[in-house]
């Protein structure tokens, strides 16, 4: 039931690059090898300020590792916490707690990776650990598309500024399904829900989604991060997830927001 979760580390910002407008890639030097065994899909909790506010940390997906002692995140500046983080110069020390949560189950067989917007953060990390056959990426416009160099990526943008003019689900028709035995989906709820409803039924049981919920602690004690469970009641995003078998989620309640 419980999973030992990573420690609270004082780390140093080694890199802070704006890779897309408002989107930063940040590397933390951890002065140790705590993150060496972290799994794609796991996350960390960043204390964005040493001061009293904000009161809680901010959860960010592990986007990749650099050597033994560095971990990278990619985040968009959307509110108070992430905008403070975006301003941290190289050399700043801050605290991160992790790695946290359940990552992807790295099963054998070909994988299809589907990402929407910033949801693509971490897909490169996942791809490096599995047999990645195809990646579908969707975003509102080209400047919201995370680069995933070296991967077989198909792209859709809502404004047609890159790739197919449309939604990521419009790319499903191009997939060579026979090669696919696993699916990973991450992005906004609406996008994930649409994907789940359109992929071949035989793959539903093999589909893992990377979820998000407002988090408090991030390590299982506060019950803040609930997600509607298919079995009734709720799952905890932080310890039951964030990566969860698609079939375990009650999509109707989640999608509706009326959860």
């Amino acid at each position: 039931m419980m999973t030992a979760q990573g420690p609270d580390l004082e780390v140093t910002v080694l890199e802070n690059r704006e890779i897309l407008p408002g989107v930063h890639s940040m590397v933390f030097r951890t002065h140790g090898n705590v993150y060496a065994d972290s799994l794609p899909g796991q996350f960390l909790q960043v204390e964005v300020s040493p001061g009293p506010f904000p009161v809680t940390r901010r959860p960010l997906t592990i986007d990749g590792l650099h050597g033994d002692d560095c971990v990278r995140v990619v985040f968009e500046s959307v509110g108070s916490g992430t905008s403070m983080l975006a301003f941290k110069p190289v050399g700043t020390s801050l605290r991160i707690l992790g790695p946290l949560g359940r990552g992807y189950e790295l099963r054998p067989g070909g994988w299809l990776l589907i990402g929407g917007g910033l949801g693509a953060a971490g897909l490169g990390f996942l791809a490096s650990r599995i047999d990645c056959r195809s990646v579908l990426l969707g975003a509102a416009t080209s400047s919201r598309l995370l680069p995933l160099p070296g991967l077989p990526v198909l792209t859709a943008t809502e404004d047609g500024s890159r790739g197919t003019h449309g939604l990521v689900t419009d790319l499903l028709g191009s997939v060579e399904w026979t090669a696919i035995e696993n699916v990973a989906v991450c992005g906004p709820v609406g996008m994930m829900d649409a994907v789940i409803r359109q992929i071949p039924e035989r793959l539903l049981g093999m589909t893992q989604v990377s979820t998000e919920a407002r988090m408090g602690c991030g390590y299982g004690v506060c019950e803040g991060c609930s997600l509607p469970a298919a079995a009734g009641g709720y799952l905890k995003c932080c310890t039951d997830g964030p990566v969860i078998p698609a079939a375990d989620i009650d999509w109707e309640r989640w999608r509706g927001g009326n959860t």
Binding site: G216, C217, G220, V221, L227
Partner: protein, 293 residues
């Protein structure tokens, strides 16, 4: 009851730290134990336990304000039977006492839950939560009426010889009257207090940011209100007052002890810093030494 800010005890037991972990932000202490984060913790207060399992409220259950946190967890818990079977046995490993926080939908439910928990040797005592702001039935309403507090305390007293605290609401009614009612009803402490009703609305859409609209406000922003209430209540009851609300740094703990608290609970801070208790204790000791010398 007031006490020396340098000596920390509760219910006949001395502690080497004044820091308790508040209900709902430390689980049953087991996740923290596994992390090695219970150093500096005098007592863990468990999350609320009810007679039946409770799913808790639909999300979003948490939202930050500029200077605090709103929660609307709604007493999510697996119910007292599951607590007895699956959780308390592991809690035997805790390096410190466990107080079980008990909630109920009806006046009788509190005593019923305590009665079941009497079957376990683990609880050091109970915290009777008559003040949760996040449930439709019970919650604040119980804590706001001294008569109800008195009745609930008496029913609990009847089923246990273990000590218990009544956790009061700062949102409605009279805190001092409810505290006196708890004492009369046989409580061995009062916890002052639970979260304050709070809310955020997105003015662009007019929509509340919590699913249940109103939630419980916690964080350092509420500290001065807890200090006032601990000060007032501790001068009008003879049982110990456990402070809860807004403690995040060592000076906060010392101020609450000076206001008359026997021990101080830390909630929201633990969500951000699992090692909060140890950090706080170090700071408290440093301050006390500086002042002694």
């Amino acid at each position: 009851m007031t006490s020396d800010i340098r000596s920390w005890s509760l219910w006949g037991r001395k502690f080497t730290s004044p820091v308790m972990l508040a209900s709902g932000t430390a689980g049953f202490g087991l996740e923290l134990l596994e992390r090695g984060s219970l150093a500096g913790t005098a007592i863990v207060v468990s999350k609320a336990t009810t007679l039946e399992p409770r799913e808790g409220n639909p999300p979003p259950r948490l939202v930050e304000t500029r200077f605090g946190l709103l929660n609307s967890v709604g007493l999510a818990n697996p119910g007292v039977d599951a607590v007895m079977e699956n959780i308390l046995p592991s809690a035997a490993m805790l390096p410190c006492p466990l107080i079980v926080n008990v909630a109920g939908k009806s006046e009788r439910e509190f005593a019923a839950v305590v009665d079941r928990l009497e079957g376990s040797s683990i609880p050091f005592g109970y915290e009777i939560n008559v003040s949760c702001p996040n449930v439709a039935a019970g919650g604040v309403a119980f804590g706001a009426s001294p008569e109800t507090v008195d009745r609930i305390a008496r029913m609990v007293r009847e089923v246990t010889d273990r000590p218990f605290s009544v956790k009061l609401t700062p949102n409605e009614g009279s805190l001092t009257e409810s505290a006196r009612a708890a004492e009369e009803g046989g409580a061995n402490a009062v916890t002052v207090s639970n979260t304050y009703l709070g809310m955020r609305i997105d003015w662009r859409t007019g929509k509340p940011l919590l699913h249940r609209s109103v939630g419980g406000y916690s964080s350092p922003a509420i500290l001065p209100m807890t200090v006032a209430r601990v000060f007032t209540v501790s001068s009008c009851v003879d049982i110990p007052v456990l402070a809860s609300g807004g403690a995040t740094c060592p000076e906060d703990i010392l101020e609450l002890l000076a206001a008359g608290a026997a021990m101080v609970q830390v909630g929201t801070r633990v969500m951000r810093r699992p090692d909060a208790a140890a950090e706080l204790l170090t700071g408290i000791k440093n301050f006390l030494e500086e002042t002694l010398s």
